[in-house]
Subunit: 206 residues, 2 copies
DNA sequence: CGCAAGCTTGCACGCTGTGCAAGCTTGCGT
DNA sequence: ACGCAAGCTTGCACAGCGTGCAAGCTTGCG
């Protein structure tokens, strides 16, 4: 749905390569030693660049571990805008955009699940993750406001939907064998149902 | 509803005083110069304690600006547990607990609004705020799981409700003259209604 | 071929956050 | 009343973080 249309020049590819190398190095090192025992210097060293260069790409090791591309946010808001344009309600439109983003990110499902686990286990990574979601939230609010006007409702629906999506991802990460797409859909369905309380302990005893 | 029943000894009062002094100093300095231009050393100096002491109370200047008391989270979860015990559904129970917490925090409405404004304008303070909400969320999930069993639903309802409460506070902070209690209730009402889209630009043209 | 833009690098520097050990106050039991 | 144990404060040292700046090198383009 959303793709890189223009093949970037050698320069941008090199830059992206450095970024990717740093991201991978950070992930590996954290997996090996745990976040606390990893320094920016060590990451840069493994990626074979200067320490200073690290900070040209990420502003903290947590960010490097996550490795989110700022372009992702743009893709999501573009999808959101499109879905809204097709007459979907804000909540449905957000679901569509988030589903699309997830498909894109989960190409390598295993690595993705592992990253989620890191977010769960390392509070500082979680904080960095929040920062990214926050940026995305702000952008999405702007788009939704374009459709329904500014005010509490726009902020609310986006904040809530983002929280739901985040929860779905984290919950999925620790339940092997479950489909992320289905989990996401379940959360949005629950939202639309006003978060009514489901059957006690077991969802369906049948 | 929730109070400090045992009058704490001199020792604990002194400790609390130091903490409060640091909190106030941090707020004032940030208000004067902006967060970036404030150092931990400056805060400690104004509070008339050693720099090292600062870190015995807060782990960053952002935390000091917020000045959240860890005990607050305990009070909220206690209220939540009580509300659940009275047979309220999870969402309603959370609303009750959050409303009570807000009453307690908003004693000085003006200072409270000002703090919210800081959260809005300083991204790092916002991040610290997220960290606190996150801690609260985890505690609340545990309580809700006690009532409805573990699983996606418990995590979801808490995450979403917290997001709604946070949104209500922030939205309220920049709309003078509005009642926070009413704003909060409006968000939870919207949640229960499945976040259905309200009338386009103006809520009611009538 | 040559120039401008932009990425990388090294250097310097101030600030952050924590471990450790010493000093002082407080609370409490004898 | 006394003295001890717990705990808060303080100074010191130190590793690590994050940024500004200027120089060097590669890339893209006319």
């Amino acid at each position: 749905m959303t793709g890189t249309l223009a093949p970037p020049g050698r320069r941008e590819r090199k830059k992206a390569a450095t970024r990717q190398a740093l991201h991978v190095a950070a992930q590996e090192l954290v997996a090996e030693r745990g976040l606390a025992a990893v320094t920016v210097e060590a990451i840069a060293q493994r990626a074979d660049v200067a320490t200073r260069t690290f900070f040209n790409h990420f502003s903290s090791k947590e960010e490097a571990v996550l490795g989110w591309d700022p372009a992702e946010a743009d893709e999501i808001t573009a999808d959101l805008r499109a879905a809204l344009g097709e007459g979907l309600g804000p909540l449905d439109a957000i679901e569509v955009a988030v589903q699309a983003a997830t498909e894109r990110a989960a190409v390598d499902s295993e690595a993705f699940r592992q990253r989620m686990a890191l977010v769960r286990s390392e509070p500082l990574v979680l904080a960095a993750s929040y920062a990214q979601w926050e940026r995305l939230t702000a952008a999405m609010v702007e788009v939704v406001e374009g459709a329904v006007g500014p005010g509490l409702y726009a902020s609310l629906v986006v904040a809530v939907a983002v929280a739901a999506a985040r929860t779905a991802r984290l919950e999925w990460a620790q339940n092997p064998g479950v489909d992320l797409r289905a989990t996401l859909h379940a959360t949005f369905t629950a939202l639309r149902a006003g978060l009514a309380q489901p059957a006690p302990t077991r969802p369906e005893h049948r």
